[in-house]
């Protein structure tokens, strides 16, 4: 983390987005493994999967990674298209609205995830 803080914003964001993507991928493979091997084949087993503290923590990490990845990723899109150059005077306004919406959706998903997991 100290190494991270010395990086420029571009390099830092690039690494954060990639690392979060990797975490999400690993978790998805982990869960997929359970599904494919038939370890989880009914709702009761699905439920007990999320009872384990390890899986609770892993799931939480997944959702945190999702939140961060989405936040940074949508920023890149917004700062490409929702700008005064592309949209005229409406640009800055559209940018703020979009960012607030994304923040709201992320907050909603996170709360929902926490409520379900715990």
């Amino acid at each position: 983390m100290t190494a991270m803080s010395k990086l420029g914003t571009g390099t830092r964001d690039f690494l954060i987005v990639r690392i979060c993507a990797l975490l999400m991928l690993l978790y998805s493979l982990y869960l997929l493994g359970y599904l494919i091997t038939g370890e989880i084949n009914n709702f009761a087993k699905w439920n007990s999967f999320f009872e384990s503290s390890l899986n609770k923590v892993l799931s939480l990490i997944f959702f945190a990674a999702f939140a961060v990845h989405t936040w940074f990723g949508t920023w890149a899109i917004a700062s490409d298209y929702l700008t005064p150059k592309i949209m005229g005077n409406f640009g800055s306004f559209a940018y703020i609205i979009f960012r607030v919406l994304v923040a709201a959706v992320i907050a909603l998903v996170l709360t929902w995830a926490i409520l379900i997991i715990f």
Binding site: A3, K6, G10, T11, F14, A76, D80, T83
Partner: protein, 246 residues
């Protein structure tokens, strides 16, 4: 006895050319000009433009070397950026039609001529020249053949602008994203064994826009008339940014 000179076979091609003279036209329009071209040999798009200009003397475009060296006749040929002088008509013409527009994203000065200021401003930011700090050696600063080879595929850039003006990231943020041409030049000097400003060069690219706005779309690679690979140069710089010790 004089021999009959064979009359060249001609066929007509319709050119649809972007026209705009800000002093006369309210807005840009496309003008169709039909030219007659020989069937027995290929000509270049630039030659076709000359034929069109014979009919329409006000038609404006830049050109100088007419052999892919000076980089002045970059334009959008049937939807793809390229140099008119080295693009054969046979490759460019689709269904007997040739559509020519100025390179996208830059302000149009007139017809096919764009204002390249934004492009040059970005190039200037990467300090496209050798920077040294150590004392001058007795003779010139030398390189081994291997070190020199590192610059192949980089020094050949003629700054035509075809790559940067086909890059969506450059269209959206031409003032903040340096664009493929400038980044290729940045790597050309980072990769140069004689240059002594690598760290400063990298520091200047650390922000969120200058380099990191490249999303790897690779339009730049597909249009470069010199066959260069800016995307690879950009990922080389990125690898250096990520792995360097601070």
């Amino acid at each position: 006895m004089s021999q009959a000179i064979p009359v060249a076979q001609l066929k007509s091609v319709t050119m649809s050319i972007y026209r705009y003279d800000p002093t006369l036209d309210e807005k840009p329009y496309m003008q169709d000009i039909v030219i007659e071209v020989p069937t027995d040999k290929d000509i270049m798009v630039l030659d076709a433009l000359h034929l069109a200009k014979d009919q329409e003397p006000s038609l404006s475009y830049r050109r100088s070397c007419r052999e892919g060296v000076c980089g002045s006749d970059g334009m959008n040929i049937n939807g793809k950026n390229g140099l008119a002088c080295v693009t054969p008509l046979s490759e460019a013409v689709k269904r007997n039609k040739l559509t020519l527009r100025p390179m996208p994203g830059l302000p149009v000065v007139r017809d096919l001529i764009v204002d390249m200021k934004q492009f040059y401003d970005q190039l200037e930011k990467v300090k496209p020249y050798l920077i040294t700090k150590s004392d001058n050696p007795e003779t010139e600063r030398t390189q081994s053949p291997e070190e020199r080879e590192e610059l192949d595929g980089l020094y050949e850039c003629i700054l035509c602008g075809c790559c940067s003006t086909s890059c969506p990231s450059f269209w959206w943020n031409p003032d903040k994203f340096l664009g493929p041409a400038a980044l290729l030049q940045s790597w050309r000097f980072i990769a140069d064994s004689r240059d002594e400003a690598t760290e400063e060069r990298l520091d200047a690219l650390e922000d969120s826009f200058s380099l990191y706005r490249c999303h790897g779309i690779m339009n730049c690679v597909s249009v470069c008339p010199k066959g260069l690979n800016p995307t690879e140069a950009i990922s080389n710089i990125r690898n250096k940014l990520i792995t360097r010790e601070k």
